[in-house]
């Protein structure tokens, strides 16, 4: 099946990634972890842009950018430099942002995603380093605000801005691209996606087919979208808006729009013709960087990335590709699986971790660290020895996540241990005796009637019986009749 892209949608993304695992900010010694910190407490004269301060580049942020470049299959620029991007805004401090211009540290990369019609290559045009401004908040709406406050904790955070070619053809593909990118970044340990403001995206969207004919689309940029879900929704809204304009023959303009998450609409911010001239010029306070030898050293320490891991899981453990794909999205989760698979049949390990544990964690929005391989192994062990039923096993995992405790303790506290076989034989006999109609139906060839009888057995065992065993016992008794 080939995806036809009926509206000729072209989407390019610009993703701002905070290298928030760099310990210190891009040009000063302030912490990069200001989660839950009071406003303007993670600051120094440097990131407050006081007069007389000079920037000192944090090498770790350069290494982080190189890691990202390598993981994006990109070229790393050997000699690179910083430029000043000049504009006034109260949260920018210096009145300029330190960024890169014609020699970004990363260029010409790509990542593979699952597209509408199979594997799709999304090209990365470039990625450059820059610093984050502070954060401004307004009393009331932005238009009618009576005052504004600024928090400079974010000021000077190291960012990598990743720019894709417009290879994305739907909101779903955009979402998958972002999920994949986030997964890669977390593998690299340069970024913690769970922190506020860790990842933001701008989306450039154009509709290039109308009434079945190719048209010259109008590129509209949506700025500062803060979640993957919001990106998907913003793109959907914008495609709808552009198609609506085309249908009504209203003129589309090249502009920058803002996505209002509460109202699920995009609103115009400014028209491109009046866009600022940022007066880029080389930063004279920082000397040009030659990354040279660092690259190979960093390449040698790169972790196995999701795609490679997925392939290895299928090959080494013989698990399904669907399981492998689900297991590798998070590095810690893949590690959890491998720890479980080391002790039991990998297929059983995959089905417990990917199908059950992951589902229960996602449902509760809990991190992987909430559950240990030992606990999962304990549950699998009890199930395989038929000490508890599979259903009880799931219940143990749920209880573990909700209330804590050890699997064996939960089993005894909840009385989940399976009942003895002779109890099931008795229960089967009773169930058969109590269900003459079902027995008659079964004998007449209605297979379903068997389920009714087995269900009765399970009821009598209060769920603490192995369903397969109960079924066997019922069949045996029926044969005797």
């Amino acid at each position: 099946m080939v995806y036809e892209n009926p509206d000729g949608i072209m989407i390019g993304l610009e993703i701002h990634v905070q290298l928030n695992k760099a310990n210190t900010k891009m040009f000063c010694g302030c912490t990069t972890d200001y989660t839950d910190k009071e406003a303007n407490t993670c600051v120094c004269p440097g990131c407050m842009a006081l007069p007389g301060t000079t920037p000192v580049l944090n090498e770790k942020t350069v290494d982080g950018a190189i890691k990202i470049g390598l993981a994006l299959n990109a070229e790393i620029e050997n000699e690179t430099d910083f430029f000043l991007k000049n504009y006034f805004y109260p949260d920018i401090g210096n009145g300029y942002q330190v960024t890169q211009f014609d020699k970004p540290i990363i260029k010409n990369g790509h990542i593979m995603i699952e597209g509408e019609d199979g594997e799709l290559k999304i090209r990365i045009k470039r990625a450059h380093m820059e610093n984050d401004p502070g954060k401004m908040a307004h009393f009331g709406s932005i238009e009618k605000s009576t005052g504004s406050i600024i928090d400079f904790n974010r000021s000077g955070m190291p960012l990598v801005e990743i720019v894709t070619e417009p290879d994305i053809r739907s909101s779903k593909e955009a979402r998958r691209f972002l999920d994949k990118l986030r997964s890669i970044l977390e593998y690299l340990d340069v970024f913690d996606g769970s922190r506020e403001g860790a990842m933001k995206a701008d989306a450039n969207i154009s509709v290039n087919i109308f009434n079945g004919k190719r048209i010259e689309g109008t590129r509209v940029e949506i700025k500062n979208i803060s979640s993957h879900k919001a990106v998907e929704k913003a793109i959907n809204y914008e495609i709808m808006r552009q198609k609506d304009f085309l249908r009504k023959n209203k003129p589309l303009v090249q502009e920058t729009r803002h996505y209002d998450e509460d109202r699920n609409v995009t609103v115009s911010l400014r028209v491109k013709e009046t866009a600022d001239d940022y007066r880029y010029f080389p930063d004279f306070d920082l000397v040009p960087m030659v990354v040279g030898g660092r690259v190979e050293g960093i390449r040698a320490t790169l972790p196995e990335l999701p795609d490679a891991k997925r392939e290895r899981f299928v090959k080494t453990y013989g698990i399904s590709d669907a399981h492998a794909k689900s297991l590798v999205t998070e590095r810690a989760f893949a590690d959890l699986f491998e720890n479980v698979a080391a002790a039991v049949d990998p297929k059983i390990a995959a089905s417990w971790t990917a199908d059950i544990v992951k589902g229960e964690l996602n449902y509760r929005d809990m991190p992987v660290t909430s559950v240990s391989a030992e606990d999962i192994l304990a549950v699998i062990g009890m199930v395989s020895k038929k000490e508890i039923s599979e259903e009880s096993g799931v219940l143990v995992i749920r209880t573990l996540l909700d209330e804590g405790g050890k699997p064996t303790e939960i089993v005894s506290a909840k009385g989940l241990a399976m009942v003895a076989d002779d109890f099931i034989v008795t229960a089967a006999k009773e169930a058969i005796a109590e269900s003459p109609d079902a027995v008659a139906d079964y004998k007449a060839g209605t297979e379903k009637a068997l389920n009714f009888i087995v269900g009765k057995v399970m009821q009598k065992a209060k769920g603490k019986a192995d369903a397969r065993l109960a079924r066997e016992m019922v069949l045996k008794e029926l044969e005797k009749m």
Binding site: P45, G52, T53, T54, V56, N94, G95, R279, F281
Partner: protein, 457 residues
């Protein structure tokens, strides 16, 4: 009038008090802020010695204004590296000296002009650090020097000044307006004092990426004997003599013959990039200042204008810059716009590279270059600009601009008088050849015996 470090040290515990007393009595507008007390004296080579700083060097808890209304009341929460180095050497920061606004040439100080200690009707130059030394208020002062504000002021006031190779002294804490052109320098009564203080300030600083990895040492390179400059090849770029007044030229010619007596070989030659030095300096300084002076927006420090919204607040606050500074910024904004960036800024950066390359080849042939520091003596207060610089330019002359653009070490030493007012001799060395500059300046100082000349006048 000027007294050296030894003379101040001789006063012992009273040095700081005496200095404070003199500053209090002085009515020539040399200081903007006085902050020292003898209680802060430490130990070290400058123990108990009062030192002044130009008002664009940040001192913790002391108002630092750059002589601009836009920084009125600004109290830095940190001290610059130069300040910490001086304090570690035992010096007492006695106060902050007057200057042109942000050190930009022709930009009047918000505190009015300072008077020249040799003649109160004359200017003290764009950095009053030199006047503080010339008036005997302190034995040495530290100042920025972009565009030659320190060298020229020293020439006007008859003091020694030395700015080392770019990167020798950390700029951390210096509120520069043109970072690639500025280097902290020292003015003092004698060459050896200037070298001593410069050496104390020199050294790598992790806070300034452009600072050199090694400390530069000046004080042990000074030769003695009859012909201490024997074998020195001294070049005189003809273009550096253009527009110099006859009186100043006379002092310069005498200086050249003094060098010859000291064993040096002096030769005139032509530098083909000389005519680009001032324009390139001007364009780069304007561009950099438009970015460096953008942080003054009223949000985080300094005065804030009342307004209905932040756009207006920033615009109104920035109107506190003086008119010359405003024009500098507007020029820089214009030059950096995409439409003309390649024609001016890009070309200036390329030409700067050619200038640096020509200096490199010149210093294959010469150990030092010399020129008059200024084209004329200190001008009358109230007249436009100064010493041969009638326009609103970022540098005084090609001779000054060249050393800034190539980051070369340069000193000025007094070389004579025109009437009551001193003239200065500029000595420029190759990049990192600071010791040559100090050696030649010291040999010249001894031979010319300027102190005696001064007393005779």
């Amino acid at each position: 009038m000027a007294k050296d470090i030894a003379a101040f040290k001789a006063a012992g515990d009273k040095a700081v008090l005496e200095s404070l007393e003199k500053i209090k009595k002085d009515d020539s507008n040399i200081f903007i802020t006085v902050c020292g007390s003898s209680k802060t004296a430490g130990s070290g080579p400058l123990a108990g010695v009062p030192i002044a700083l130009s008002d664009n060097i940040s001192v913790k808890d002391v108002e630092t204004t750059c002589a601009s209304k836009i920084l009125k009341g600004y109290i830095p929460p940190f001290s610059g590296k130069a300040v910490l180095d001086l304090e570690n050497a035992g010096a007492v920061i006695i106060g902050k000296t007057n200057m042109t606004e942000f050190g930009i040439l022709g930009a009047p100080s918000a505190y009015g002009p300072a008077q020249n200690p040799h003649d109160k009707t004359k200017k003290a130059g764009p950095s009053s650090a030199a006047a503080a030394v010339a008036a005997g208020l302190v034995p040495a002062a530290v100042s920025s020097d972009a565009g030659g504000i320190l060298r020229v002021s020293a020439s006007f006031c008859g003091t020694v000044a030395f700015k080392p190779s770019y990167g020798a002294i950390s700029r951390y804490g210096l509120i520069y307006y043109a970072g690639s052109l500025d280097q902290i320098g020292v003015t003092a009564a004698t060459v050896s004092d200037a070298a001593l203080v410069a050496e104390i300030l020199s050294g790598n600083d992790l806070c300034d990426t452009t600072s050199l990895p090694e400390k530069l040492v000046y004080t042990d390179k000074i030769k003695s004997g009859d012909k201490p400059l024997d074998g020195f090849r001294i070049g005189i770029p003809e273009e550096f003599l253009e527009g110099v007044t006859a009186d100043v030229m006379k002092t310069f010619e005498e200086a050249v013959s003094t060098f010859e007596k000291l064993g040096a070989v002096c030769k005139k030659f032509s530098m083909k990039t000389a005519k680009y030095m001032q324009p390139v300096h001007d364009i780069i300084a304007a561009g950099e200042s438009s970015a460096m002076l953008a942080k003054y927006d009223g949000t985080r420090f300094g005065p804030r204008a009342e307004a209905d919204n932040w756009h207006e607040m920033i615009a109104k606050t920035r109107a506190l810059f003086g008119p010359v500074v405003r024009r500098r910024i507007m020029l820089g904004v214009y030059l950096l716009k995409t439409a003309q960036y390649n024609d001016y800024y890009m070309k200036s950066m390329q030409t700067r590279t050619l200038i640096i390359e020509e200096f490199e080849s010149v210093f294959q042939e010469y150990d030092l270059l010399v020129s008059p520091t200024t084209k004329d003596i200190a001008p009358v207060i109230g007249t436009p600009c100064n010493g041969g610089c009638a326009d609103e330019l970022s540098s005084f002359s090609a001779a000054i601009a060249g050393a800034d653009l190539a980051g070369l070490p340069a000193a000025t030493v007094p070389c004579g008088f025109v009437g009551k007012l001193p003239a200065g001799l500029q000595i420029i060395g190759g990049y990192l050849k600071d010791a040559n500059v100090i050696a030649a300046a010291e040999a010249f100082e001894k031979a010319a015996d300027f102190v005696k000349v001064q007393e005779a006048v």
